[in-house]
C-alpha cells in the first residue's frame, strides 16, 4: 500500500482537486431533487402558482446542474489522466524490473505469469484503485448527503429509509454468495474446455490425418454442453441480486410513499418535500450497490498491486564490479567452481578448466549432464556458488555483466526470433549493419538462399515463433545474427541441431572462419562437430568425467568412447 502511495504521491494535489470536484458533483446531483421539490411546492393550485419564486428556483437548478456537470467532467478527466499515467509508469517500472531480473527468477516463473503482472495487473491496479477509490469516495459522499437531506426534509420518515435500505444490500449479498458455487463450476468447465481446445486445435492436422476429427467434434460437444448447463446456472443465479435488491427498494419506496402521504395529510410534510423525499429514497440504494461493486474491484486491485510489487522486488541481477571488459583476448580460466540451481542438488562440482585464446572447447554428454549450465555460468546468467571464472586473467565478477556478455556471441538450440522483419532479427546484435554486410553474412551461413525466396526477402515480416520457417532455417538466422556481430568469444549450444547434415557441411567453412582465433565453447550431441575441438569435456551427472582431445578420450575408453561408439556417427560410418 505504501509503495502504491509512492506512485500516487506526485498526483496527490491533482487527486485532491479531483475529489473536491467529485464532491461538488455529488452534492449537485443531490441538490436537484430538493430544488425540484420546492418548485412543486410553488405549484399550489390553479392561479396560485408562485411564478417568480418558481423561476428563481429553476435558475438555481440550472446553475447547480451546470456546476455539477462541469465538476464531474473535470474530475473525470483528471482521473483518466492520473490512471493512464499511473498505469503507464507502473508498467514501465515493472517491465524495467523484469529486464533486470536475475535469470533464476525468470526461469522459476512461467512467462505467462510475469506477463500478466506487467499487462493485466497494472491495468487492474490503475483502474481499480484510482477509479474505484473515486467512486467509493463519491458513493460515500452521496450516502452521507442523502442521509443529511432526508433528515432535513423530514426527521420523522428519514429513519425508515436509512434503516431499511441496507436490507437490499444484504439480500444481494446473500444471493451472490449462493451463486459463487456455480461460478466456480463455470470457471472449471471453461478451463477444461480451453485445455481441450488447445490440445485438439494444435493437433488438428494430426486428428485430420487419423480421421479422428469427427470424434474430436463429439468430445468437444460433450464439454460444450456441460459448459452450457453450468453457465446457465451461473448466469441465471448471478442475475438474481439485481431484481431482488430492486424489489426491496420498491418495498421501501412503497413504505415511504404511504407513510409520507399519510403524514402529509396530517400536515407533517409538504407534497414537494415528499417528492424530493421519494426521489432520494429511490436513489439511495444506488451508491450502496456501487460501493459493493467497487469494493470487490478494490480488493482485486490490492491483490494485483501485491503481485506487481512482488515482481518489482524480485531479485535483480547484481553488479559485482564496474570494470568494462574491453579489448578482450579470450583466455578463460575456470577454478574449482561448484554450482547448484536449487542449492540442494549440485549440478556442477569442483570443475576447473583453463583455455587459451582461440581454443575450441567441446562439451558433450547425455541429456541433463549440466552442459547448458556451463553456458549459464560463462554468460553469468547464474553465478557459481564457489570458485571463480577469470577472463584474460581477471575475475569476471570485476566486470559489468553487460560488458562481459557483449564479449560473447551465443547461439542456442532454442531459437528465438521476434516479431519483425528478417532484417530486424539479423541486426539484433548490431543495429547499424549495412545491407551489404547483412547479405554477406547471410551468404556465408547459406541463410541467404531461403531468405531470398521469402515473399519480401529480407523485409519479410516474421511472427514471434518464426512463422512458416523450419527449425533449421530459424537456426540459420540465429547463426547469421552472430556472424554479423562477431564478439571475441563464442558459445554454440546445439547451434546446428536442426540443420540438415549437408547444409551443416556447407557452412562448416564459414563456421571455421568464424571460430578462428576466437575462444569457442561448443555444446553438441552430434559428435562430428566435436571431433576437431582442442579440448573435449565429457560431462555426466554434473561432473566433468573426462577431459582431453578426441584421440586421448577414445584411447581412454571411458564414457566418451562409449558414447562415440553408439552415436549416429558410428552408424553412419558402419553403414
Amino acid at each position: 500500500m505504501k509503495k502504491l502511495y509512492l506512485y500516487l504521491k506526485p498526483y496527490m494535489p491533482a487527486i485532491l482537486v479531483s475529489m473536491l470536484f467529485a464532491g461538488i458533483s455529488a452534492a449537485a446531483s443531490l441538490a436537484v431533487p430538493i430544488y425540484a421539490g420546492r418548485t412543486i411546492d410553488c405549484m399550489v393550485g390553479i392561479g396560485a402558482v408562485d411564478m417568480p419564486g418558481l423561476l428563481l428556483i429553476l435558475r438555481t437548478i440550472a446553475g447547480v446542474a451546470l456546476t455539477g456537470a462541469a465538476s464531474s467532467a473535470i474530475s473525470g478527466r483528471i482521473n483518466i489522466r492520473i490512471s493512464t499515467t499511473v498505469i503507464a509508469s507502473l508498467r514501465r517500472d515493472a517491465f524495467g524490473a523484469m529486464t533486470r531480473l536475475s535469470l533464476s527468477e525468470i526461469d522459476s516463473h512461467s512467462p505467462g505469469d510475469l506477463q500478466s503482472r506487467i499487462i493485466a495487473d497494472a491495468d487492474a491496479v490503475g483502474d481499480g484503485i484510482l477509479l474505484g477509490f473515486s467512486q467509493l469516495f463519491s458513493g460515500i459522499l452521496t450516502i452521507l448527503g442523502t442521509i443529511i437531506f432526508l433528515f432535513m426534509i423530514s426527521p420523522a420518515i428519514a429513519p425508515v429509509v436509512v434503516i431499511l435500505t441496507p436490507l437490499s444490500l444484504f439480500t444481494a449479498r446473500f444471493i451472490s454468495s449462493r451463486s459463487k458455487k456455480y461460478f466456480t463450476q463455470q470457471a472449471e468447465v471453461r478451463g477444461e474446455l480451453t485445455q481441450f481446445c488447445q490440445e485438439q486445435v494444435e493437433a488438428q492436422r494430426l486428428l485430420h490425418a487419423f480421421g479422428a476429427h469427427e470424434r474430436s467434434k463429439t468430445d468437444f460437444n460433450e464439454i460444450n454442453n456441460t459448459l452450457s448447463d453450468v453457465s446457465l446456472n451461473a448466469t441465471f443465479f448471478s442475475s438474481l441480486p439485481n431484481p431482488s435488491s430492486r424489489f426491496v427498494n420498491n418495498l421501501i419506496y412503497m413504505a415511504v410513499g404511504m407513510l409520507g402521504a399519510l403524514y402529509a395529510i396530517s400536515g407533517g410534510i409538504t407534497v414537494g418535500a415528499l417528492t424530493s423525499f421519494l426521489a432520494y429514497a429511490s436513489g439511495y440504494a444506488k451508491p450502496f450497490n456501487e460501493i459493493t461493486g467497487v469494493w470487490t474491484e478494490l480488493q482485486n486491485a490490492v491483490v494485483c498491486a501485491g503481485r506487481l510489487f512482488e515482481l518489482m522486488e524480485m531479485e535483480p541481477e547484481k553488479e559485482t564490479g564496474n570494470e568494462k571488459a574491453e579489448k578482450v583476448k579470450g583466455d578463460i580460466d575456470i577454478r574449482a567452481i561448484n554450482f547448484s540451481y536449487d542449492h540442494v542438488k549440485p549440478t556442477i562440482t569442483d570443475f576447473s578448466l583453463s583455455v587459451k585464446k582461440g581454443a575450441h572447447v567441446a562439451i558433450v554428454g547425455p541429456t541433463g549432464a549440466g552442459k547448458t549450465t556451463l553456458v549459464n555460468l560463462l554468460m553469468r546468467f547464474y553465478d557459481p556458488d564457489s570458485g571463480s571464472i577469470a577472463l584474460d586473467g581477471n575475475d569476471v565478477s570485476k566486470y559489468t555483466r553487460r560488458s562481459l556478455r557483449s564479449s560473447f556471441g551465443m547461439v542456442l538450440q532454442e531459437t528465438w526470433l521476434r516479431e519483425g522483419s528478417v532484417r530486424d532479427n539479423l541486426t539484433l546484435g548490431r543495429s547499424f549493419a549495412t545491407d551489404d554486410e547483412i547479405t554477406e553474412a547471410a551468404k556465408l551461413t547459406k541463410a541467404h538462399d531461403f531468405i531470398r525466396k521469402l515473399p519480401d526477402g529480407y523485409d519479410t515480416m516474421l511472427s514471434s515463433d518464426g512463422g512458416s520457417l523450419s527449425q533449421g532455417e530459424k537456426q540459420l538466422l540465429c547463426i547469421t545474427r552472430i556472424m554479423l556481430s562477431l564478439p571475441p568469444l563464442l558459445i554454440l549450444d546445439e547451434a546446428t541441431s536442426s540443420i540438415d547434415t549437408r547444409t551443416e557441411q556447407k557452412i562448416q567453412g564459414a563456421f571455421r572462419r568464424m571460430m578462428q582465433n576466437r575462444t569457442t565453447f561448443i555444446v553438441a550431441h552430434r559428435l562430428s562437430t566435436v571431433r576437431e575441438s582442442d579440448i573435449i569435456l565429457y560431462m555426466e551427472g554434473g561432473n566433468v568425467k573426462e577431459q582431453g582431445t578426441h584421440e586421448q578420450l577414445l584411447a581412454a575408453g571411458g564414457g566418451y568412447a562409449t558414447l562415440y561408439k553408439n552415436a549416429d556417427y558410428h552408424a553412419a560410418n558402419g553403414g
Binding site: 396560485a48 512467462p111 485445455q195 407534497v271 516479431e419 539484433l428 552415436a567
Partner: protein, 570 residues
C-alpha cells in the same frame, strides 16, 4: 448481424420473451409515478387515508409483479444467450476441425483458440446483456416519454427533444470512441508481444546487451498506449456530465411549463410530480445505458472475429468423390506423374518441380534432401493435404482427388516430424485412428515400434500421458507416435523424420519390424542417409527437384549430392 441472428433465431422464443418480460417490468416501473401522482392528488389532496393505503398496496403489487417478470426475463435471456453461443461454439469448432492442412497452416492455432474461448465468452455476455438490459433502456426511456405524453402533450414534445439530443450525442461519441478503443486494443497487443518476447528471449537479449534498447522500445509503445487510452477515456468521460446537463435542463423547462400549466389549471400538482419523476427515470436509465455500451461494443468486436473464422474457407482442395473402393490389388501403391506444386501461387519458386515416380505395393521408399528441398511436401501431396498445382497423384490407381478424406485416412498413416501426444492414457492415445483397437492390437503395435518395454516399465497401457507427452523422452515419444500409426493398420505408412531421436540400433530394429509387415508400403523421410540406406528405392531431393533415384549403393556411385549427404553424416 445476419450471422448473429441465424444463431439466436433458433431460440427466438427465449430471445423475444426475454425483452418482452423486460418490457413488462419497465411498464410496471413506469406505472409507479402515476400511482404516486394519484396518491398525491386524490389521497393527500382529498385527505383520504384509505385511498393512500390502496395506492400503497398497488405499489406493493407492482413491486412483486416487477420482480417476477424481471426474474423470468433474466432466465429467458440467459437461456437464449447461452444456447445460441453453445451452437456457435459447436459450429466454429466443427469448422476448424474441417480445416484442410492448407487452411490450418494459414491461420495458425493460437488465433483460433482465442476465438473459441475468450471471444465466444464475450459474445455470450454481450447477447445476455442486450436481451436483459440493452432493450430495457429504450423501453424505459420511450415508455417514460409516452407516459409523459398521456399526461401532457407539451411534455411529450419536450421529452422527445431531450431524448433526441441525448441519442445524437451518444451516437457521435460512440462513433468517435470505438475506433479509439480498437486502437488502444492494438497498442496493448503490441505491448504484450514485446513483453512475451523479452521473457522468452531473456538470454538472447542479455547476450546481445539489448536490455536498454528493449526498455526504450517498451517506453515508446507504453507511452503511445497511454496517450491513446487517455484520449479515448477523455472523450468517454464527457458522456455522464453531458447527460446530466441535458436531462436537468429538460427538468428546468419541464418544471417551468408545468408551473404555467398548473397555474392555468391544465395540469394538477400530482401530474407535475409524475412528469418530473419520469424525467428523473430517464436520467438514471441513460446513465446505466451509457456504461453498457462499452461492453456491447467489445462483444460486437468479438462477434466479428468469430464470424471471420466461419467465413474462412475450410477446404480449398478439389474433391471429385466417386464411390469406387480402393483396388488394393493394384500393384502400384503411389504414383506421381509430372507433379508440380507451390504453396503460394504468387511465388516464383515451386516447392516441387515436375516430379514423377511410383512406389510398388509393399515396397519401401526413402526420401532424402536438405531443409526446404521438398521432402515433406511430397508426403503432403500423397495425403492430399494440398492439391497438386499440376500433374496427378494416384494411390492404388485412383486419383487422390477422387478419394474422400476418411477413406484416405483409413489407408494412410502419417507420423509427422513433431510428435503430438494427448493427455490421457497410452491406450487412449493409441486408439486415435482406430477407436475399436483391442488391447492385443495395441500391445503388438507397441512391440513393433519398440515402445512396449518402456510403457510396461511405467504403468502399461493405463500409463497416463502428461499434456504434450512430457513424461516421455523425445525418443520414446517418437516411438509411441509410430506405434499409434501402426494401430490403424495402414496400407501406406509415412515416417516423416520421425526416428531422429532414436539411436541407430533401435532405429534399425524398428524399421526392420515395419519392413517385415505384410501389405505395407513405407515411405521414410530423413536428413540422414543411414535411415534410408536399406530402402528399395531412394529419392534425392534438392530445391524441389528430384535429382536422383535408386538404391543406396547405386546412388553412392552415381549421385554427387547423395554422396555428400552420406559424407556429411560421418
Amino acid at each position: 448481424m445476419f450471422f448473429l441472428l441465424k444463431y439466436i433465431g433458433k431460440y427466438k422464443w427465449f430471445a423475444t420473451l426475454a425483452p418482452l418480460f423486460k418490457m413488462l417490468e419497465a411498464i410496471f416501473e413506469l406505472l409507479v409515478p402515476l400511482v404516486v401522482a394519484d396518491m398525491i392528488d386524490n389521497g393527500i389532496g382529498k385527505n383520504d387515508p384509505q385511498h393512500i393505503i390502496i395506492c400503497g398496496l398497488l405499489l406493493l403489487a407492482l413491486a412483486v409483479l416487477g420482480m417476477a417478470v424481471s426474474i423470468t426475463a433474466q432466465f429467458f435471456a440467459a437461456k437464449a444467450a447461452i444456447l445460441s453461443t453453445k451452437d456457435m461454439r459447436r459450429d466454429v469448432y466443427a469448422h476448424i476441425m474441417d480445416f484442410s492442412e492448407a487452411s490450418m497452416d494459414k491461420t495458425g492455432a493460437s488465433a483460433l483458440l482465442t476465438r473459441l474461448t475468450s471471444d465466444l465468452n464475450q459474445v455470450m455476455g454481450g447477447i445476455n446483456m442486450v436481451l436483459r438490459l440493452f432493450l430495457r433502456s429504450p423501453f424505459v426511456v420511450f415508455g417514460a416519454m409516452i407516459m409523459a405524453g398521456t399526461i401532457s402533450l407539451r411534455a411529450l414534445a419536450l421529452f422527445a427533444i431531450v431524448i433526441a439530443l441525448l441519442g445524437g450525442f451518444t451516437a457521435i461519441l460512440m462513433h468517435t470512441t470505438i475506433p479509439m478503443y480498437t486502437n488502444v486494443q492494438n497498442r496493448l497487443e503490441g505491448l504484450i508481444t514485446l513483453t512475451r518476447e523479452n521473457l522468452e528471449g531473456a538470454r538472447v537479449i542479455r547476450a546481445f546487451v539489448r536490455d536498454d534498447k528493449e526498455r526504450e522500445e517498451f517506453d515508446r509503445r507504453n507511452d503511445r498506449l497511454r496517450a491513446n487510452a487517455y484520449k479515448a477515456g477523455g472523450y468517454q468521460s464527457f458522456l455522464n456530465p453531458v447527460t446530466f446537463v441535458l436531462v436537468n435542463m429538460g427538468i428546468v423547462v419541464l418544471l417551468y411549463t408545468s408551473g404555467l400549466q398548473v397555474n392555468a389549471g391544465t395540469l394538477t400538482t400530482g401530474e407535475a410530480v409524475a412528469l418530473y419523476n419520469y424525467m428523473s427515470q430517464i436520467l438514471v436509465e441513460l446513465i446505466k445505458f451509457a456504461n453498457l455500451i462499452v461492453q456491447i461494443t467489445r462483444a460486437w468486436a468479438s462477434v466479428i472475429r468469430v464470424r471471420e473464422v466461419m467465413e474462412m474457407t475450410a477446404d480449398e482442395r478439389s474433391h471429385i468423390p466417386d464411390d469406387e473402393p480402393f483396388d488394393l490389388s493394384c500393384e502400384t501403391a503411389i504414383d506421381f506423374s509430372n507433379v508440380t506444386f507451390s504453396y503460394n501461387k504468387n511465388e516464383s519458386r515451386n516447392a516441387l518441380e515436375e516430379l514423377t515416380f511410383c512406389v510398388p505395393k509393399n515396397s519401401t521408399l526413402g526420401i532424402v534432401g536438405g531443409t526446404g528441398s521438398g521432402k515433406s511436401t511430397i508426403t503432403r501431396l500423397i495425403r492430399h493435404a494440398y492439391d497438386a498445382s499440376a500433374g496427378t497423384v494416384r494411390l492404388f490407381g485412383r486419383d487422390v482427388r477422387r478419394v474422400s478424406d476418411s477413406e484416405l485416412s483409413s489407408i494412410i498413416s502419417n507420423v509427422p516430424q513433431k510428435v503430438t501426444l494427448f493427455s490421457g492414457t497410452v491406450a487412449e492415445n493409441m486408439r486415435l485412428g482406430n477407436k475399436d483397437a483391442s488391447d492385443e492390437e495395441i500391445i503388438e503395435a507397441l512391440k513393433k515400434a519398440k515402445a512396449y518395454d518402456f510403457v510396461m516399465e511405467k504403468n502399461g497401457l493405463a500409463t497416463e500421458v502428461a499434456p504434450g507427452g512430457t513424461n516421455f523422452s523425445g525418443g520414446q515419444r517418437q516411438r509411441l507416435s509410430i506405434a499409434r500409426a501402426i494401430v490403424s493398420h495402414p496400407k501406406i505408412l509415412i515416417l516423416d523424420d520421425s526416428t531422429s531421436a532414436l539411436d541407430a540400433a533401435t532405429e534399425r530394429a524398428l524399421l526392420g519390424e515395419l519392413m517385415a509387415q505384410k501389405e505395407l508400403t513405407i515411405i521414410i523421410i530423413s536428413q540422414r542417409s543411414t535411415s534410408v540406406s536399406w530402402c528399395d528405392r531412394i529419392l534425392v531431393m534438392e530445391d524441389g527437384w528430384c535429382i536422383g533415384s535408386g538404391t543406396d549403393s547405386w546412388l553412392i556411385k552415381n549421385n554427387e549430392v547423395y554422396r555428400e549427404i552420406v559424407e556429411a553424416g560421418r
